[in-house]
């Protein structure tokens, strides 16, 4: 038996579409997670204790259990209670809730990165609340959070591969399909592995450049 890469060339365009879909799934779940994280972090910082306890329970539950089993639960267990989700919906809801838990923790760290002295200074200078948020708080928070958020987006892009288990046709899903037809397993999965590497390196570089130009963040991304 020898490796034959020629046979799988025909699948490359299909795989590229799958890679785009992986980025899209990760982006959608990331955006949802960012929003949940914002509310979660605000609740943890300013909320009353019952709210804090509820958010902590949510974060603990989603960070201490595997994302795969969470989606299994959404996909296989909820129908017994009368809620039927399509594979892609289950994956998106699962990934969003999971991201929300991690991003709550990340964003909370960003909230604490504003020095009190700068807030006092802004007040002394007579900044309005909006001006304070825009000119004083936002730069600190964005600069503190940007590397961690970007890295989490890359990690989520890798995480989309588990959507394949539910039959979603992103990159890994398409690889499994191609494998079922051609049986060139090693060739297919090595090509797909390289595609993930290239994909995440491109995404990391773009995020790093954007961070440098827009927010003057110097840290490395993933």
């Amino acid at each position: 038996m020898t490796l034959q890469y020629g046979q799988i060339l025909q699948y490359l365009p299909d795989f590229l579409l799958g890679a785009l879909m992986a980025l899209w799934i990760a982006g959608l779940a990331f955006a949802g997670g960012l929003l949940i994280g914002l509310f979660g972090a605000a609740a943890l910082t300013y909320g009353a204790w019952p709210l804090r306890a509820a958010v902590t329970a949510y974060v603990r539950f989603f960070t201490y259990t595997p994302q795969l089993v969470q989606i299994f639960f959404l996909f296989f267990a909820l129908p017994e209670a009368g809620i039927i989700l399509s594979p892609i919906t289950a994956v998106l809801i699962g990934m969003t809730l999971n991201a929300g838990a991690y991003l709550t923790e990340i964003e909370r760290a960003g909230f604490t990165s504003v020095p009190q002295a700068e807030l006092d200074a802004a007040e002394t200078l007579g900044f309005s609340r909006l001006q304070t948020i825009w000119y004083v708080i936002a730069p600190h928070v964005v600069r503190a959070l940007y590397p961690a958020l970007s890295s989490h987006y890359i990690i989520m892009t890798l995480g989309t591969s588990m959507a394949a288990i539910f039959g979603v046709e992103e990159l890994t899903g398409r690889a499994l399909n191609a494998n079922a037809i051609s049986f060139r397993s090693v060739e297919i999965f090595s090509v797909v592995a390289v595609m993930y590497i290239v994909l995440t390196i491109i995404a990391s570089t773009l995020l790093w450049l954007v961070g440098r130009w827009l927010f003057r963040v110097k840290a490395k991304v993933f």
Binding site: F61, V69, F72, F76, A81, I165
Partner: protein, 234 residues
């Protein structure tokens, strides 16, 4: 029937001695695969971090290879890595048992994560310490063992426990090749006709307990290591 009724109706049939023993075995399998894989991964990661030390490796090509290894294995999704190892072992006709495939995949991924973690630990020690030791004619490896490591392991240990925790969760993907860990056990029980609410719910609870224990261990280690004044670092 509401979800709660299903659970109440099925629980006596589900929590039998046989099922509990089966689930306990699955927890042990999960722990063995992740801990053994992490141990091997950390050993490899330590070697990789050593290769990247300019004080230890005079020639740059080796460092480049180490960086390539790290960047490769941390940028492949665990599921793809696992399938690749699985199919490669079939292709090479190794007849490798499933646990070996699982541990290899965990170890490969862990080696990349550990290398970064250990390198970050090494970098917290100031380069002047290397220079001082090397000036006093201390061999490079002895310097690493007696001067750099004692200072950096406080930085290395807490994230390591977080890594083991994340590996415990990622082993759930090993269910895809049929290794009987928690997720696969839940899947098998579902196929035996038990309610998915109950089986996957139990799996979630089991993972939560394992993670909770590991996270507590991590917090305890971090507190212990950081509370004591670090006299060694100037």
């Amino acid at each position: 029937m509401s979800a709660w009724d299903i659970i109440l109706a099925e629980a006596p049939r589900f929590f039998t001695w046989w099922n509990l023993r089966f689930l306990a075995l699955a927890v042990v399998n999960t722990l063995v695969a992740s801990v053994a894989g992490c141990a091997m991964g950390y050993a490899a990661g330590f070697a990789l971090a050593m290769l990247r030390l300019p004080q230890l490796m005079g020639f740059a090509p080796v460092r480049v290879l180490a960086i390539l290894w790290v960047e490769t294995f941390r940028r492949i999704p665990f599921l793809v890595l696992l399938l690749l190892v699985f199919f490669l072992s079939q292709f090479a006709r190794l007849e490798a048992p499933l646990w070996a495939v699982a541990v290899t995949a965990v170890a490969l991924r862990m080696s990349a994560l550990a290398a970064e973690n250990i390198r970050a630990g090494f970098e917290t020690v100031r380069p002047t310490q290397w220079e001082a030791a090397l000036t006093m004619n201390m061999p490079a490896l002895t310097t690493l063992r007696r001067i750099i490591l004692p200072q950096s392991w406080r930085v290395i240990l807490p994230p390591s426990i977080v890594h083991v925790l994340s590996m415990v969760k990622e082993t759930s993907l090993v269910s895809q090749i049929g290794f009987i860990e928690i997720t696969f056990a839940a899947k098998m029980l579902t196929q035996r006709g038990f309610s998915a609410l109950l089986t996957y719910g139990t799996a979630l609870v089991l993972y939560f307990c394992v993670s909770w224990a590991l996270a507590s261990l991590g917090r305890w280690a971090e507190r212990r290591l950081t509370l004591r004044p670090a006299r060694l670092t100037p």
